[in-house]
């Protein structure tokens, strides 16, 4: 719904229910209700800030940039994974709007979930460029045409907000599944014409917790705020993984683009 032109005119109120959890005092999460006055251009994040500033300073949540690029403010808004800074109260009036921490993650406090598992997955996929031959700085940039950039560019747009993990029921079932976000980053590097370590990363893809935990639900790509299309990253790698397996079965070495089978860190 587009915002009202007279956004600053008479403000209305919306009922917001937030799932709270304070480990020092709560055995389990508990709902808390607030009433927040709002204008048409106010995001859910601004609503939460109003609650924290004026009503209840104990509400904890992550946020920073306010413009959907830092990836901090992912939460379940109306039971759908969204970024609080780019979701607007006007679309949920009069409420009650439910705000909960991201699904499938342990809650540390209020709307803050444990991210260390995801970070470890990111770190495990060799998330850096491993070229076949290292250029010197004075040799200038590796050449890469706009077409070559287009092959992986959208996978590089991932802001690590983890909405896709909250959407993925297979991750909910199996927290060891490498997951859509990490696979998008993996594909970002495998699809980069300057990289030569595809074979290394495919070793992670072939496993049960790699691409094969995915059943192509596709919800991850629906909720992604940056149109990264992680479902594509995971599922194209199923095809590649199957091809690799078939080729190995026939006795050929696993195919890699430049022929270099290992490009370890310098």
């Amino acid at each position: 719904m587009p915002p009202d032109a007279a956004a600053g005119a008479a403000s209305r109120e919306i009922a917001i229910g937030v799932l709270r959890y304070r480990c020092e005092t709560d055995q389990r999460p508990v709902w808390q209700a607030y009433r927040v006055p709002f204008t048409d251009d106010m995001s859910v994040l601004q609503g939460l800030q109003y609650i924290k500033d004026r009503l209840d300073g104990t509400l904890s949540f992550r946020w920073s940039c306010r413009m959907a690029i830092c990836g901090s403010c992912g939460m379940m808004i109306g039971a759908v994974p969204k970024l609080a800074c780019m979701t607007f109260l006007r679309d949920y009036h009069p409420g009650p709007l439910t705000v909960e921490p991201l699904e499938h993650f342990p809650i540390e406090r209020d709307l803050v979930v444990t991210l260390s598992g995801f970070i470890k997955k990111l770190e495990s996929i060799y998330p850096y460029l491993i070229p076949s031959t290292q250029r010197r700085l004075d040799e200038g940039e590796y050449l890469q045409t706009p077409s070559q950039l287009a092959r992986y560019e959208t996978f590089s747009d991932c802001i690590n907000c983890m909405l896709c993990y909250a959407a993925c029921p297979q991750f909910g079932e199996n927290p060891d599944f490498i997951g859509p976000g990490a696979m998008a980053l993996l594909q970002r590097y495998n699809g980069d014409s300057r990289d030569a370590a595809r074979a290394k990363r495919m070793e992670l893809v072939h496993t049960d917790n790699g691409a094969w935990s995915c059943t192509a639900v596709g919800y991850c790509s629906e909720v992604c705020p940056k149109q990264v299309d992680p479902a594509n990253a995971v599922n194209q790698n199923k095809t590649k993984s199957a091809l690799d397996f078939f080729v190995r079965f026939l006795g050929q070495p696993a195919h890699s683009r430049t022929g270099a089978s290992d490009g370890g860190p310098p």
């Binding site: 959890y21 480990c23 020092e24 389990r28 999460p29 039971a79 699904e103 342990p106 809650i107 540390e108 406090r109 444990t114 045409t145 706009p146 077409s147 070559q148 287009a150 092959r151 992986y152 959208t154 959407a167 029921p169 909910g172 079932e173 699809g191 059943t215 192509a216 639900v217 596709g218 919800y219 790509s221 629906e222 299309d229 479902a231 594509n232 599922n235 194209q236 199923k238 095809t239």
Partner: protein, 132 residues
């Protein structure tokens, strides 16, 4: 100092209440219909191999109201299966870049659906032509 005690929420079981999960489950169920229809074809083949009497009985069964209702369900499921198949197909392919631009996924879906439609029409025509 009580320290942190993260809380893991129990998994939500009411998948049918969440439209994306419901859509996914229905999509997967159409695969069951495909398997079911394969069994129907197999039954027809067995009856064909069992002689004229068996085969005539089979054809009569196919014309019965129960069979027609079942086949209608199969048809709906098949259409759903074809539709969702081509929605998901571009996800299994790497990005195709033509002239510096990524080929939109819905073009791939549209092409697939067009081929499916063409195949359907061709089979109908061939079946019509083969009528004695």
């Amino acid at each position: 100092m009580t320290g942190p005690r993260p809380y893991l929420r129990p998994a939500k079981t009411a998948w049918w209440a969440h439209p994306p999960y419901l859509a996914y489950t229905l999509r997967e169920a159409t695969g069951v219909a495909v398997a079911g229809y394969a069994l129907v074809l197999l039954a027809g083949l067995i009856n064909l191999a069992s002689g004229e009497e068996a085969y005539d009985a089979w054809l009569n069964f196919l014309k019965s109201p129960w069979s027609l209702a079942l086949h209608l369900l199969f048809l709906i499921a098949m259409i759903g299966h074809v539709w969702t198949w081509f929605q998901i197909m571009p996800k299994t392919m790497p990005r195709l870049v033509i002239g510096g631009r990524v080929l939109p996924q819905n073009w791939i879906t549209a092409a697939g659906l067009a081929v499916a439609m063409a195949a359907f029409v061709i089979i109908l025509l061939v079946a019509e032509w083969m009528q004695p």
